[in-house]
Amino acid sequence: MADQADEKPQVQPGLEANAIGFVDAVSIGLNATSPAYSLAAVLGPIVVLVGVAAPGVLLASFVPMLLIASAFYFLNRVDPDCGTTFSWVTRAMGPWFGWMGGWAIAMTGVLVVGSLADVGVRFTLLMFGQDTIASNDTVVMVLAVLLILVMTGICVIGTELSGRIQTVFNVAQVTALIIFAAVAIYKGASGQGLPGALTPSWEWLNPFASGTAALTSGLLLGVFAYWGWESAVNLNEETTDSASTPGRAAILSTLILLATYLGVGVAVLMLVGPSFLADNAGEEEMVFALIAREALGGWGWIVLLAVAMSAVASTQTTIIPASRTALSMARRQAIPGYFGRISTKYRTPAVSTWWVAGIAIVWYIVVSFISENALLDSLTALSLLIAFYYSLTGIACAVYYRRLLFKSVKAFVLIGLGPVTGAILLMWLLVLSATEMSNPENSYGGESWFGLGPPLVIGIFLFILGFIFMVSSRLVDTPFWKERPSVVEPDLVPASEGGDKR
């Protein structure tokens, strides 16, 4: 028996999970993006930045997302690890790029958690009519830190809402947003809007309607709004009719998502207009609450509840990837093994999860003190990181599949051209916005750190920090740094995409 301990133990498969139906599959697609929280966090700033072009910007941001999602789909399919950017990029482009990709993912978790908690706390307070408390930053900060601890605890304990409850939550969330959009559009159309409200025009769908100056910042925030959507096309679960259900569910959840974003964007312009938002720009994501009450009056709490629920529920889709990536990096000896420790009782990467939360709390507090638009600056910096690791993934996809790309048109378009175009679009966005943010006058609050816009400083700071950590991990000579780039196994790819799989 003693010699058995040396072999890798066999793990038997569990019972096949109950196949999920069409509605649940649609719900999973929506869950990953948390539409209510995303809108609450970025819609106000986008309208302030690009005015009437907001719906167009939300539409345009979806294009690179769609192309990159294709990369995630094809990488996930050949990777039996159910990996992430870290695993894939390391395999396709070697340890250095892989390390930076993994670092970017872990840091997105750190940057977003503070915002999730902050939005969750403020909207919960607003829902109960506690507006004075909700605008007291100190109280909100204390409550948000407590909420982060609770949310992290939930991730460590590894409990999950059942799929059924998640579906109910998601349907409720989207219904609340659609009711809000419908009422706001009706009020706007019947002349009950605020002074400054606008009559809709097709021009709104043109992202370039208000010139290009603020466009890149707007697009970058738009990318944040769709962040996570790629998992909607990666349904691993068994579906009741696996030939067509996942595809149709992904399409429907995408249409719902786009319709909700555009609908709410149009509704806000029709009900209050961009000037209202510009006047209340200091309120950041609170703007959304003001508009919700404007539209629904006494029923505004419906939208506030949807946002609060969405923000809290998002922790699972943000903290878990960050901590699992850190665990995976530790196990491949890219970072110290300490971060790979798990809780046997709860079957979660407890150490890396608490580290993500700890750094997130410190980050949230520090940024709140030194920046006037702390959360928005963090989100913009977060969008820079997302754009970085998405484009890295897009390129890695084409590089990993390079020997198969020219064997079929389908492979060339979906695995090569699409992801690379998406990657180039995002990198172009990254460079343009970095150039723009190097002039603080263009930043949202007009603030300046070291003569640069705060989000750019945050982004550069995180990259330098990552680079220092990477080099210091490199100093310890581990097998990870000897990993060499490889290409996809043709046996794993169907013949229609240039592979040898029968």
Binding site: P9, V11, I157, P321, R324, R331, T344
Partner: protein, 135 residues
């Protein structure tokens, strides 16, 4: 026939293991020592890396339990399942048809069990064979 015991190395699971070993010896049954190793939090990101880490932590404890049972004169077998603790026992129930399940009551208090669910009550609900819950 056999008996199946849920085991994860925790204190409560140890009580269950001891009871199960004694019972298996008295009834002259094979003991299946079952451990769920699926990462909590669902499929997706770095699932296999996480599961490997869990298996590395848990496999030695499960192996030790098998040795303990054999030393007590009981035929024993370790089964690691890609599922949660409840799902693992359900899978073994379906595949191996044991005549009884043995589980610890768990270390969580009542409030925590109510909030986050506990293994024993869920099993009682879903099992069609007797479940022995060890305090």
């Amino acid at each position: 026939m056999s008996l199946a015991v849920g085991y994860n190395g925790g204190a409560s699971a140890r009580h269950a293991l001891r009871a199960a070993i004694a019972l298996a010896r008295d009834l002259d049954e094979t003991l299946l020592i079952v451990c769920g190793v699926a990462p909590a939090g669902g499929m997706g990101e770095e699932y296999d890396a996480t599961e490997d880490a869990i298996v590395e932590e848990l496999a030695p404890a499960v192996n030790a339990a098998v040795i303990e049972a054999r030393e007590a004169g009981v035929e024993a077998e370790a089964i690691l399942v890609d599922a949660g603790p409840v799902g693992a026992l359900e899978a073994v129930m379906a595949e191996r048809q044991p005549r009884m399940l043995v589980v610890g009551y768990g270390e969580s208090g009542r409030i925590r069990a109510a909030l986050f669910g506990a293994v024993a009550p869920k099993l009682v609900e879903r099992s069609d064979i007797p479940v022995l819950v060890v305090p």
